[in-house]
């Protein structure tokens, strides 16, 4: 394993200063459950790590006008937050099936997103919740929709010197239902495929539909074409079957040790279909 220096700045300013001083040979680290593993496997070779754990500006979970989470919010806290369980159950469910308790006790929502694994469990719920990420760097602050955040496996729109500071989710509308589903080889697994759905129903008709599928493309996907088909319609079995088929057309998964591409396609469609059904049940 490569040896690295480890810095623990107390503020973002200090963190930027360190990053500048280290000439980009450093890497930010949140909970470390992914970065440390990759260093141990020899897949990453940073000279230094800059830990974000002591920066209080990155913490805090608020639920006044929508949901606002500091990027260093632990999955543990998301999993246990009663307001999230009530208003954003898809997110709470994703948090509760991500890895295992020991990992959730240190892994952060920001870290999960910045790793940009196509299978990241936090991504599909945040996609359907239309989350906005606040990004900050030495040059200032900007806001990015989560849809525009991912660029490819392990790649995001972040500059090397930038940090995600906050994730915000708009206030939940009345009549909204949402769900997150995941399938793995065993109970504890990286997703073969995962999916989230958010539905707003008025008088039996779907007014709003947001769909996302993970682990089936280089980045977590929004399924906009299919959302357009669902919106304005009554959600009935025929429509759901059509959705499942369309998902198969819209995803482009790979084959790896966990699954073949073909199975991912099939099951991704099924998960999206079932997520819509579950969201619909909860929208009532």
């Amino acid at each position: 394993m490569k040896k690295f220096d480890y810095y623990q700045p107390e503020s973002l300013k200090e963190a930027y200063g360190l990053m500048e001083k280290l000439n980009g040979e450093a890497r930010f680290i949140a909970g470390g459950t992914d970065v440390i593993v990759r260093i141990k496997q020899g897949a990453l070779h940073p000279d230094a790590l800059i830990s974000l754990r002591r920066i209080s500006a990155l913490k805090g979970l608020g639920n006044e006008d929508g949901l606002s989470m500091g990027s260093m919010t632990l999955f543990r806290d998301i999993e246990r937050d009663p307001a999230i369980a009530r208003d954003y159950p898809a997110l709470g469910e994703a948090a509760s099936v991500l890895a295992n308790p020991q990992v959730r006790n240190v892994a952060t929502i920001g870290g999960n997103l910045c790793n940009a694994a196509p299978s990241a469990d936090a991504a599909p719920p945040l996609m359907v919740l239309e989350a906005t990420l606040t990004i900050e760097g030495p040059g200032g602050q900007r806001e990015v929709s989560i849809e525009d955040f991912f660029r490819g496996p392990g790649e995001t729109c972040l500059e090397h010197t930038e940090v995600v500071t906050r994730i915000t989710i708009p206030k939940k509308r009345k009549g909204t239902g949402m769900a997150f589903l995941k399938i793995g080889r065993v109970a504890q697994d990286i997703a073969i495929a995962n999916a989230a759905a958010l539905i707003v129903v008025e008088n039996g008709v779907c007014r709003k539909c947001r769909l996302s599928a993970g682990a089936v493309a280089p980045v977590p996907l929004r399924l906009k074409r299919i959302e357009g088909i669902v919106e304005g319609r009554k959600i009935e079995p025929d429509l759901l079957d059509r959705v499942a088929e369309m998902v198969q057309e819209d995803v482009s998964p790979i084959t790896d040790v966990r699954s073949t591409a073909q199975y991912r396609k099939t099951v991704s469609g099924i998960l999206v279909k079932r997520a819509i059904k579950e969201a619909l049940d909860r929208a009532g």
Binding site: Y6, Q8, I36, V37, S51, P101, Q102, V106
Partner: protein, 155 residues
């Protein structure tokens, strides 16, 4: 890069000069010779290295040692009380067949402690979720779950 870190280890104030790339597991085993905490995979998949940091279970193989500064760490050795008396959770594992080869046991017991400290009367599903980060190849988990159920009765 090296640093003197100070933390509470099983109730005692300790300090150690530690290199920046070291994980908590290495410090526990190599510096403090607390070998009850095991390394099963080194990648946070098996949970054999589970310890409590400020009461929360963590995989010490992925926990940068520098991060432990000022915190309180409990290892399996910290559960054994004066006169080599086992903690009620340890006792329950002994009594109810929750132990075979024993390599996963310290981590399993530390996860149980974290679980019962937060939720003293868990359902079977909550027990299974609580130890879902701890792999065991010997027992098939059945007698482990039973041990935890029994431990909870006394908790």
């Amino acid at each position: 890069m090296k640093k003197l870190i100070r933390f509470t280890l099983n109730g005692h104030e300790v300090s150690a000069e530690v290199e920046s790339h070291r994980m908590l597991l290495e410090v526990l085993r190599n510096t403090f010779h607390l070998t009850g905490t095991k390394e099963g995979c080194g990648q946070g998949e098996c949970g054999a290295c589970t310890v409590l940091v400020d009461g929360l279970s963590v995989d010490s193989c992925l926990y940068p040692a520098f991060e432990v500064e000022g915190k309180s760490v409990t290892t399996i050795e910290g559960l054994v009380e004066e006169g080599s008396r086992l903690h009620p959770i340890q006792e329950a594992f002994v009594e109810h067949g929750g132990i075979q080869c024993g390599f996963c046991t310290p981590g399993m017991i530390m996860s149980t402690k974290a679980l019962l400290d937060e939720n003293p009367h868990p359902t079977d599903d909550e027990i299974k979720r609580g130890i879902s980060g701890n792999l065991c190849r010997c027992t098939g988990y059945v007698q482990i779950v039973e041990s935890i159920r029994k431990a909870a009765e006394k908790y």
